[in-house]
């Protein structure tokens, strides 16, 4: 695990990755356990529908349309609308912000740079380790869904589920890359977690507020949440244009971080 920066970074994050996997996995299996009972309970459904009509605010957390009766709608409302992105984002932001800024604050970045390694290579290895870990979380989520589906006999398209998880992974990698980029501009961890989470929250609000107020609708397109879930991937699959938005944004952030990181002073 000490062959290169990529593997060393994974080694450092191993425990964190294990605990996040356990947490996310339990969350998913809990939801899947809950669904069949929920689907049978007409009273609960009725009350929820009423609540939905009376308190529009709820839409911010469970999505634009109320669809609790289909398993896809249920999984969307319970996992992909709020809890899933929240769990994935916290992991991605802490990973991304630690990548360069963490090494710099702990003063170990100098030791890496004293070796014959280019700065851009350190950055890309850190980025790869982060993306890889997020895909592992995505994979663990997929396995947990499959387990839930098998045990509790829920009928969901596995392909669509995979597409929704892929969208979630890309979305998280984007925010992780944002945190990594801010860290490569200025090596202060606190600053870049703060900045990146603020962007994530604004992004979330831009998208969710549009469920409540029509005049907000045009602004959805400025939100990465829209590109993540706007197409409703668990029902409609991935929208290639939305995937492209993520890939291009990640590419731009990486290029920016390399350009600045190559030129800037490493803090003592």
């Amino acid at each position: 695990m000490l062959k290169n920066i990529f593997l060393k970074t994974l080694k450092d994050k191993r425990n964190s990755l294990i605990w996040w996997s356990v947490g996310i996995s339990l969350t998913i299996i809990f939801y899947m356990y809950f669904y069949p009972q929920f689907a049978k309970s007409q009273i609960l459904l009725f009350q929820l529908t009423k609540m939905y009509q009376e308190i529009p605010f709820v839409k911010m957390f469970i999505g634009e349309t109320l669809d609790f009766t289909s398993p896809e709608g249920f999984i969307n409302a319970e996992f992909f609308s709020f809890m899933g992105p929240l769990l994935f984002l916290v992991f991605a932001l802490s990973f991304g912000s630690d990548s360069i800024a963490g090494e710099e604050e702990r003063k170990t970045l100098e030791l890496l740079l004293a070796n014959p390694i280019q700065r851009w290579k350190i950055l890309l290895e850190k980025f790869s380790a982060m993306s890889f870990s997020i895909f592992i979380l995505g994979g663990i989520s997929f396995i947990s869904f499959i387990l839930g589906i098998l045990i509790f006999e829920v009928d969901v398209s596995l392909l669509r589920l995979l597409e929704a998880l892929l969208s979630l992974c890309l979305f998280s990698i984007l925010f992780g890359t944002l945190a990594l980029t801010v860290g490569s501009l200025k090596g202060r961890k606190g600053l870049n977690i703060g900045f990146s989470s603020t962007i994530a929250i604004i992004s979330y609000l831009l998208n969710s507020l549009s469920f409540l107020a029509d005049f907000m609708k045009p602004y959805r397109k400025f939100s990465f949440f829209y590109y993540y879930i706007g197409n409703d991937p668990i029902k409609n699959g991935l929208n290639p244009a939305h995937i492209l938005v993520f890939l291009v944004s990640i590419g731009i952030l990486l290029a920016l971080s390399i350009i600045v990181f190559e030129k800037r002073d490493i803090a003592v």
Binding site: L2, D12, K107, E110, L112, A114, N115, D265, V268
Partner: protein, 297 residues
């Protein structure tokens, strides 16, 4: 002889740290070059510029004839470095840390690592977080020397080492000197630099005061001596001796500064019964003052 380090008009300020102003000097192949200055004089700024961690505001740095701006990472194949403020990966053991560094760098002979760890008496199987400052410093030394680099850049390398280990370190420096390697070493301790270096650059408040051979430095340097005699001695016996300054006689005790050789003083003093001789090493500040005022030249 090839020029290994060439610094031209280097100027750099950053943050709250002491910058450096218009530095010019070179270090030749096979030389042990001491970079002497008090804490906060700009030694670390110079060293971090040489390694490309910070980018010069003005000026150029060439290592082995290559511009560090353009070929910085290639140059590092041939350099070893000990940071002034050494920080290691606390969660690794010494062995794991060195393996990681060796993997990133390549070309490390593991037998040499073992030899160095035995010489410096360090247990590499302990987690780094449990090690004392001195023991961490030893690991820092091993990682800088383990690939037998042609150029060693050492920022206060003996910091935290006990005297025995300092001695071992000086021994290691003389070994690499015999192999023809070049060493650039910063220090704020004059006797250390006098002991191991061939030439010295003295830096103060970001400016290079002088670059001298150790012999010249020694001839400039003065010592403060206090000689206690059994009986009072005549002042005239000492006042005319070569190199004597600030002579004070109080009964049987004389106090003075002497520049250069002590020979004449000792021979004169030997005519009387001596009880004690106390010698004070001049502080760096006093040496700077002697350079500034031209004292001792």
């Amino acid at each position: 002889m090839e020029t290994v380090i060439l610094i031209e008009n280097l100027t750099k300020f950053y943050g709250k740290y002491q910058g450096v102003i218009d530095l010019n000097f070179e270090v030749k192949e096979g030389e042990i070059f001491g970079y002497l200055g008090p804490n906060g004089a700009g030694k670390t700024t110079t060293i971090r510029s040489i390694l490309g961690f910070i980018k010069p505001k003005k000026g150029k740095i060439f290592i082995f004839g290559k511009d560090i701006e353009k070929e910085g990472y290639k140059i590092k194949k041939k350099t070893g470095y000990i940071p002034g403020d050494l920080a290691l990966y606390e969660n690794l053991t010494g062995m794991e840390f060195l393996k990681y560094m060796a993997n990133l760098r390549g070309n490390v002979n593991w037998n040499y690592v073992k030899e160095l760890s035995e010489r410096f008496n360090i247990n590499l199987n302990q987690p780094i977080r449990s090690l004392s400052h001195g023991n961490k410093q030893k690991i820092g030394i091993i990682q800088a020397f383990m690939h037998k680099p042609d150029l060693l850049i050492l920022d206060e390398p003996t910091l935290g080492l006990d005297p025995l280990m300092q001695y071992e370190f000086y021994h290691l420096i003389s070994e690499v000197k015999r192999e023809g390697k070049t060493v650039f070493l910063s220090s704020h301790i004059l006797p250390e630099v006098e002991r191991i270096c061939d030439r010295v650059g003295i830096i103060r408040e970001g400016k290079l005061v002088t670059v001298e051979s150790i012999d010249t430095l020694k001839s400039h340097a003065f010592r403060e001596l206090e000689v206690h005699f059994a009986k009072p001695v005549p002042k005239e016996a000492f006042s005319e001796l070569p190199g004597i300054k600030d002579l004070k006689v109080e009964d049987s005790i004389i106090r003075f500064k002497v520049v250069g050789s002590l020979d004449a003083v000792i021979k004169t003093a030997a005519h009387y019964e001596i009880v004690n001789i106390i010698s004070h090493e001049p502080s760096l500040e006093e040496i700077f003052m002697s350079f500034y005022s031209g004292e001792g030249k």
